[in-house]
Symmetry: C2
Subunit: 224 residues, 2 copies
Amino acid sequence: MADTGTATPRERYRAQIRAEIKEHAWQQIATTGASALSLNAIAKQMGMSGPALYRYYANRDELITELIRDAYRSLADTLRSTAAEAAEGSGEEGGAGLAGLAHAVRDWALRDPQRYLLIYGTPVPGYHAPDDITAISSQIMTLLLDAASAAPPRHPESPLDHHLAARRAWAGDHPAPPAVLHRALSFWTRIHGVLSLELAGHFAGMGFDPALLFAAELDDLLTC
Amino acid sequence: MADTGTATPRERYRAQIRAEIKEHAWQQIATTGASALSLNAIAKQMGMSGPALYRYYANRDELITELIRDAYRSLADTLRSTAAEAAEGSGEEGGAGLAGLAHAVRDWALRDPQRYLLIYGTPVPGYHAPDDITAISSQIMTLLLDAASAAPPRHPESPLDHHLAARRAWAGDHPAPPAVLHRALSFWTRIHGVLSLELAGHFAGMGFDPALLFAAELDDLLTC
DNA sequence: CAACGTTCGTGATAGCCTCTAACTAAATCT
DNA sequence: AGATTTAGTTAGAGGCTATCACGAACGTTG
């Protein structure tokens, strides 16, 4: 994560403490949620006094921003390697790429639900992510567009397709046709819809298996 | 909301103060999010000292729970009247009910995004809603099932349908066939997926019109 | 090696928060 | 009118974020 190879001992020590702080932060977020994250509590857990943490993070926001950045990076890495494996294994099996990405996202999210919700959950109204984070999120979008390009479009072009064709700046310089832009967006929203309701516990008392609903949603998305 | 007709003056005064507190709370939530809700700040806004509020709400959690309850009630009322209008206007126009509900949900959510996110956004890990709130949420589910029943199933039965047929307790005593249970769940997850990403601001920098994506998603949901 | 500047961690402190407790004043009930 | 319930106050405990001044450890450099 932080290259501890080439640096002064002081910088290596500093990087290690920062990493240790983040570990405690993740642990705390996993159990109490991001809104209850306490720098003070982390400091106590690490055996030092409260204000000491401010040597490593200027404030609570900066720590949370770095957690968000790491979460995005982790998701992007996961999806990148999933896409690479899919491209290697089967030559061009339309939709297998998207299915692989879908399951990779769900596995990643279930591994630490609060980490997913830190990215895609309720945002704090004032917060604006720095540019390098939005860059990672557009890397993720590119992966989705690549996978969506492999699956052939099945629908006649919708009014949305024309709209997207004109406003395709968010796709960067990706050469996907309008139908693929649409397909990637729809994939994103549908996966997020079923997954976020599961993570938020809205299926908890209902008795059915969320994995089956996810699979059905994915199947419908790919074959319909 | 609270029946101020039949009660002692003291009870009416109390109910009015509680309502006033909630109004300030909603205002605060709309601008700073639910996690930053401060009883102290509300008290100051109302011109009284901090601890005075604890005469009306035992603690912060109780206030937030009541806000969640009111939000659910408001959404349920909105959808109920939308469903009633749809049933009255056009006799049985398959899918018009679902489309009406979808737009009603979106309009309701856009009117106060934080109110939607209070219900369907990131939950506090420890929190468990009281029974009367889950009762309202199952009323909403019943409205969805009613509307979904009107639209004929277009798909062959999926493996999920069998699963849902066996575990239909969450549908209460609703006589919907398995395909309709599936349809209602899919409607919920898809509407929530596109809507929650919009409300969370994930489409903000992308340039396209979220309303068109919502409409396309709804159209695909109904016609496919 | 010794002096120096940098960095780390500390306690003290301000200001915010939730929430409790003791007390006063007002309204209601008998 | 007197007794009781209730509303609101201040004081304060304990938590939090964050700043500041200070001493102690560290690395570098003459």
